[in-house]
Symmetry: C2
Subunit: 204 residues, 2 copies
């Protein structure tokens, strides 16, 4: 009985995740989810108490997916140049795997900022990373340009994420296919890595 119920619950959860990612909270109906999961409508409220509750559960998961890897990478015992490269690569991988993730998160937070109350400990986690220590030491010794962590982190993510966020727009504006976009994004990623390192790491 446990395995059966978990099966249905998970089926709904996964279906809801797909639909929410594509259409957002407002654009998704309970019937959309039930249809995607191929289950009765009443089951969405039987397992989760409401559409909002189901959404928040998924939203929390996706927020963690969004932030999970970056902290880990920032704490790796590797030099700062390699670290920047890894963060960008990780970001790129995530965007290719789930292109809808960032626009979904940004949009839902934009419409309902209170949803962010979930994540609060992130700043102290970021402050205490090895990356931040390396940054402070590098700036102190003059090998790094004095750029605050609060600026460096968005720089490492925004260029890649924005590209995928506006994927459809970039394709239309530049008149390229989905395949051509892939190649373009790959190339763009390399420029982003080089550009950030070039700026942060001072040559003697």
């Amino acid at each position: 009985m446990k395995c059966v119920s978990e099966k249905s619950e998970d089926k709904i959860r996964e279906a809801a995740k797909r639909v929410f990612l594509k259409k957002g909270f407002d654009g998704t109906t309970s019937r959309d989810i039930a249809k995607e999961a191929d289950m009765n409508i009443a089951l969405t409220n039987y397992y989760f108490r409401s559409k909002e509750k189901l959404f928040m559960e998924i939203f929390k998961d996706l927020m963690e997916m969004y932030f999970q890897n970056i902290i880990h990478i920032l704490n790796k015992p590797i030099d700062i140049k390699t670290k920047i490269s890894e963060v960008v690569e990780n970001n790129y991988r995530m965007m290719r795997q789930e292109p809808d993730l960032v626009i979904f998160i940004m949009n839902e937070i934009h419409k309902e900022p209170e949803r962010l109350l979930v994540k609060l400990s992130l700043y102290s986690q970021l402050k205490s990373t090895l990356f931040n220590q390396q940054l402070a030491e590098g700036i102190e010794s003059g090998v790094l340009r004095p750029v605050p962590m609060e600026s460096i982190l968005p720089l490492m993510t925004s260029c890649i994420e924005f590209l995928f966020l506006g994927k459809e727009m970039h394709q239309k504006v530049f008149g390229i296919s989905a395949e051509e976009f892939e190649a373009f994004a790959e190339n763009h990623k390399e420029h982003v890595k080089a550009m950030i390192c070039n700026y942060l790491i001072l040559e003697k």
Copy 2:
């Protein structure tokens, strides 16, 4: 009669623009718009034929607002470094003036990519700008790094736009107020300008 009817029509259009920007197409009801415009519900369908028609009219306007200035700046007879600075500054000004614009556009295109069929001539316009010519010449003569226009343009916009796009998130993550965000964004903007120039313009 003309001036009266235009008054009501514009009142609805402006109200709809405000509500759509804040809540998106799905999150906005006809009654929301009527209430914001302080008019009867039936008038939204009397002047515009449907919610969709009203939306598309506003969406087209906002798309033009989004792209209007950049082409003009790219054609200015100024050196490429100043040009990059102006594009970033223009972007920054736009984001401060209408912080909801980019997330709105990106989200609506993401949900309904066909809405983009409006704008098609943009690529040829971009290709024939003075900026693109300056870029080609600079690369040819070796004073500029060989970066395609398709990569340079997103770099000039993504860093600033993404910051405002995730304004609420960045505030929460870094634990800063709206005022502190303003100061931070101003500083971040300078880093972006310097970083792009530093990468594109090769020192001898």
